[in-house]
């Protein structure tokens, strides 16, 4: 049991007339990056809300860090951190004030040092004393994730962390998620981008119409499909490759 971070069985949830989750089962191991892949409206956010104690399931059970989300929500909250779909940062405060606020709410001693470290790590030191309303989308997302790391939670939920970011911002977030995982934090992330799951995740589950239709490592998932065929195609650079190449050159100058 010690290596299990999240364990969900038979989870069901409906809103009025629509059934969003129709019996979800999944297991996330400690320290891995777990990607929940699904289209818009598949129920990803609902599942994250239940796991982070923001919503209650109709039936089924969910254990996070060994604690049942219904019976011991306070203990669950002590073990997790949530980065929601929209950057949950305070626009009127500065980046530093946002982090200090969270550090104080988590009652950490030495919050100043913790905040300085995070600002440095997320490349926000220069912008630390500016109001967040002046930040770019990528900076906001970085601050958002930095706020989730205050107090070193065991499990972090990232609900569509790169939706709405430009390619550069997306790469930054990917790099951060990889770093996070290397420090032993369990990362549960939802995404609608196949590429993101492929790039980051140790294991991938696909949520479709309220149930997990498949679950495994990328290699395992690949085995489910017909073997790869060898084709010779001229590889054109994608627009993203071009964009990043140009931006990269500009920054070198």
């Amino acid at each position: 049991m010690h290596d299990i971070a999240i364990h969900v069985t038979g989870l069901k949830k409906s809103f009025k007339t629509t059934t969003v989750l129709k019996g979800v089962d999944l297991t996330v191991r400690r320290g891995e990056i777990f990607a929940l892949l699904g289209a818009n409206g598949a129920g990803k956010t609902t599942l994250v809300k239940i796991l982070s104690t923001l919503a209650k399931q109709d039936s089924g059970s969910a254990k996070v860090h060994g604690f049942d989300v219904l019976d011991e929500p306070e203990r669950v909250r002590q073990s997790i951190s949530l980065t929601g779909q929209f950057a949950a940062v305070d626009e009127i405060l500065t980046g530093r004030e946002n982090l200090v606020m969270i550090a104080k709410l988590r009652h950490l001693a030495d919050s100043r040092r913790i905040v300085d470290d995070l600002l440095q790590r997320f490349d926000l030191t220069d912008a630390a004393d500016r109001r967040v309303s002046t930040y770019s989308g990528g900076m906001r997302r970085r601050l958002d994730i930095a706020m989730s790391l205050v107090g070193k939670p065991n499990i972090i939920f990232l609900d569509e962390p790169t939706t709405g970011l430009d390619p550069e911002g997306r790469l930054e977030v990917w790099k951060m998620v990889k770093e996070l995982s290397s420090t032993g934090t369990t990362v549960f992330l939802t995404t609608q981008y196949l590429e993101e799951a492929e790039q980051l995740a140790d294991r991938i589950a696909i949520l479709h119409e309220g149930t997990i239709i498949t679950n495994g490592t990328l290699a395992e998932l690949k085995k489910l499909f017909p073997p790869a065929k060898v084709e010779y195609v001229e590889k054109q650079p994608t627009l993203e490759d071009i964009f990043l190449a140009i931006i990269g050159k500009k920054e070198e100058k």
């Binding site: 982070s52 923001l54 919503a55 306070e74 950057a87 305070d90 009127i92 405060l93 004030e97 969270i102």
Partner: protein
Amino acid sequence: MEAIRKHSFSDMGIMLGRSMRHIFRSMDTIITVTITPIAMMLLFVYVFGGAIQTGMDNYVNYLLPGILLIAIASGIAYTAYRLFMDMQSGIFERFHSMPIAHSAALWGHVLTSLVSNAISVVVIILVALVMGFRSAAPIVSWLAVAGILALFTLALTWLAVIAGLSAKSVDGAGAFSYPLIFLPFISSAFVPTESMPPVVRAFADNQPVTSIVEAIRSLLASEPVGNDIWIALAWCVGISIVAYFFAMRVYKRKTA
């Protein structure tokens, strides 16, 4: 749970600190809240006042309590607005997924509402002093006035919480305050109710603003307050309790 309980006051303090920063960094909200009541005060004192017979020599003294209530009624629209913005931005979800008292985020807004309205009230009283408002009331009476105004703010704040939590748009969040701003006009705030036609007078005499205005006016004029103060307190406490009950129900429903 023990450890969490112990912190709920300091959590509330942190939340209050956060929203107070919001207020001080957008002083325009204080200006917006106070400018209309001040303009009304100028208009009534220097334009209409000469034609109004109140039985009091100093019309500013007569008018001030009603103006303060109008300022509070428009001030709480910002409470609803700030709450609505927090619900929208997802920062409430962050707080609620953290190991802190669930109510801390909400109480932060309530306390902020009390503090920011108190600032508006002080600003308006200072302007009134310049315009000739005078009171020889003892400190105890002033404290009683402060208490009534705080209770009135609290009552309207809980109404604002309901509006802020259940609104679907920014405009909707603030719209509920318009009827509240008009209540003082159909009360004894500007003219004595004796001059009104019977039906209007019956409404004016029995709605909360009249008793609150009369109680504050008597306290500031060092006159006997009579029953008005008890009726005023009953209204404020009654509205607070009912609105608090509904606000908490909406809050629980919205945040599961």
